[in-house]
Symmetry: C2
Subunit: 279 residues, 2 copies
C-alpha cells in the first residue's frame, strides 16, 4: 500500500456486502432498521444523520430518528432508549455523542439492549473487545481503522503501532484490536514525552487528538503508514485531520486523507453492524 489510502474503496466493498445481506434478509421476511437518537440540532449531528440516511437508503436499511431537546433528563432519555429496545422494527440503535454534560453517560450506556448496540457503548460489548473477541459490535471508528488496513493488505503481525488517543471509544479498543492482530502497541496521549521519537520509530501511527494539522513530517519516516482519525474544522472552517497532509504525504509510505479517509468508512461499518444485529 502506498500513497493516499482513500476510504472509498473499502467503504464500497462493505456497502456491497451489506446490500447482499439486506437483500437476503428481506427475502426471508426480515427488514433491518436503525434507530437514531439525537439531542438538539447540532450541525455535525445533522450532517452525520443525513449521511447515514443516504447510505442506508442505498442498501435498504430503514432509519427511524428520535429527536429530543438537549435539556431532556437522563431518565427521560433512558425511557426513549428502552422504547427502541422493545421496538421490533429497530435492529440497531445509535445515540449521537457527545451527550450534554448533565446526562449520566454510564446509565445511558447500560440501558441500551446489548444486542442492538451497533455503536458499541454497552460495557458488555466493549468488554468483549478487551477479552480479544472481535466477533461482536465494535466502535465504528476503531473498526474503520482495522478494516482499511485489512482491505489494503497491510500485515500487522510484529509491527510497531503507535496510537495517539486513549479514549474508551477509539484508542483503547483499537489497542486491543491491534494486539489481537499480534502488533506491538504503544498508547500515547497529552502527557507523553518525546512523542515524535516514538512515532518516528513506529511502522504505523494512528492519530486521534482533534488538533488540525498538528503533526508535520518530523513525526514520521519514509516507511510510515499514517492513519488519521482526527476530524475537526480548521481556521478556514473546512474539515481537517490531525496530520498536516500536504507536508506529510510526500514523506511517508502511505497516509489516509481527511476528508475521504477513515470518516468515509464509519457509516458503512455502522450499517454493517445494523445488519449483523438484524441477523
Amino acid at each position: 500500500m502506498e500513497g493516499a489510502i482513500k476510504g472509498k474503496k473499502t467503504s464500497h466493498k462493505i456497502m456491497e456486502r451489506v446490500k447482499g445481506v439486506v437483500d437476503e434478509l428481506r427475502r426471508n421476511g426480515k427488514q433491518p432498521g436503525l434507530g437514531i437518537i439525537r439531542l438538539g440540532e447540532d450541525p455535525d449531528d445533522l450532517y452525520y444523520e443525513n449521511n447515514i440516511k443516504k447510505n442506508a437508503r442505498k442498501v435498504g436499511v430503514k432509519v427511524k430518528v428520535m429527536e429530543k431537546p438537549c435539556h431532556i433528563t437522563t431518565d427521560e432519555l433512558i425511557e426513549e432508549i428502552e422504547r427502541m429496545n422493545r421496538d421490533d422494527t429497530i435492529s440497531g440503535i445509535i445515540i449521537f455523542q457527545p451527550l450534554p454534560g448533565h446526562i449520566n453517560k454510564d446509565q445511558v450506556a447500560n440501558s441500551i439492549d446489548p444486542l442492538k448496540d451497533v455503536d458499541c457503548i454497552h460495557p458488555l460489548n466493549l468488554m468483549k473487545i478487551f477479552q480479544g473477541d472481535l466477533t461482536g459490535f465494535i466502535p465504528c471508528t476503531s473498526k474503520a481503522v482495522i478494516d482499511i488496513l485489512i482491505h489494503n493488505n497491510v500485515s500487522l503481525e510484529g509491527k510497531k503501532v503507535v496510537i495517539i488517543n486513549r479514549s474508551l471509544v477509539v484508542g483503547k479498543p483499537l489497542a486491543m484490536m491491534f494486539l489481537e492482530k499480534d502488533a506491538t502497541v504503544t498508547i500515547c496521549h497529552s502527557k507523553t514525552k518525546d512523542l515524535h521519537k516514538l512515532t518516528k520509530e513506529a511502522d504505523l501511527v494512528v492519530t486521534g487528538i482533534g488538533k488540525p494539522a498538528y503533526f508535520d513530517d518530523k513525526y514520521f519516516n519514509e516507511n510510515s503508514i499514517v492513519i488519521d482519525v482526527g476530524m475537526e474544522k480548521d481556521e478556514s472552517g473546512s474539515m481537517a485531520g490531525d496530520v498536516d497532509y500536504d507536508k506529510v504525504y510526500p514523506k511517508v509510505k502511505a497516509i489516509t486523507p481527511v476528508p475521504g479517509g477513515i470518516g468515509s468508512i464509519t457509516t458503512s461499518i455502522l450499517l454493517d453492524q445494523v445488519v449483523k444485529a438484524c441477523k
Copy 2:
C-alpha cells in the same frame, strides 16, 4: 527508589490498614469472610491457600474453603459459586486459576456476584478498569505492581512503561492503570520484534512471561526500573522470576526480586479487597 524493591514493606503497610478496618467492622458487628473455591489439590494452589489463611488469621478475616474434584462440570461449579454468592458470611470469593480445560471460563466469570468478586474476574469489574475507574476490584497482581510503585514513590506521569504480557488478568488491566497514571504504555508479547530495544529505552519494564531468568542485562539500562511478575519453578525446582536477577540487579536502578517482590503483596491485596467488599 534504588536497588532491590522488596514487597514486604508494601505488604506490611497494606496489612496494617486492613487490620484497622477489620477491627472497626467487627466493632460494628460485621465479620469479613473470604470464600475460596479450589478444584483438586495442585501444590501451588495449596501453597497459595495456606498463605492466604495465615495472613487472613493475622488481620481477622475468616476463610471458608470449598474443595471440589477437578472433574466437576461447569454447571456444578456455578452452583457452588451461587451458593457462596448467597452466603452472608462470605464477603468475597476467589476461584483458584487456571481452571481445567473443560470448564467454561466465561460462564464461571459471569456467575460470580460482582460485589463479591475480589479477584476481579467478572466482566463488569474488569470493564470498570478499562473505563479508567480504579475504585472497584482490581486483579491482585496488577494492583500489586501499581501499589509497590506508589509505596516507593515512583512517579509515573510521562514515563515510558513497557509491559511484556497481554493477558486479561495482568497485561491489559495493568496497561489501563498505567495510562490512568499518565504513563506512556507499550504492550509487548511473543510476536514483538526487537524486544530488547524497546525495553532498553523504557523507564520502567514489567515482565510477565513465565520463563525463568529469560531477561538478562542487555534488556535494560542503568536507569531501568524492573518489575518482575513472573513466578515459576526453575530447573532446580526453586521459585524464579522472568529476570536473571543476579546479572540484572547490579546494572539497573531498581528491581523486584522473586520471591519476595510482587508475589509477596498479592495476598495482602486480596484481603484488602475482601474488607472492601465487606464494607
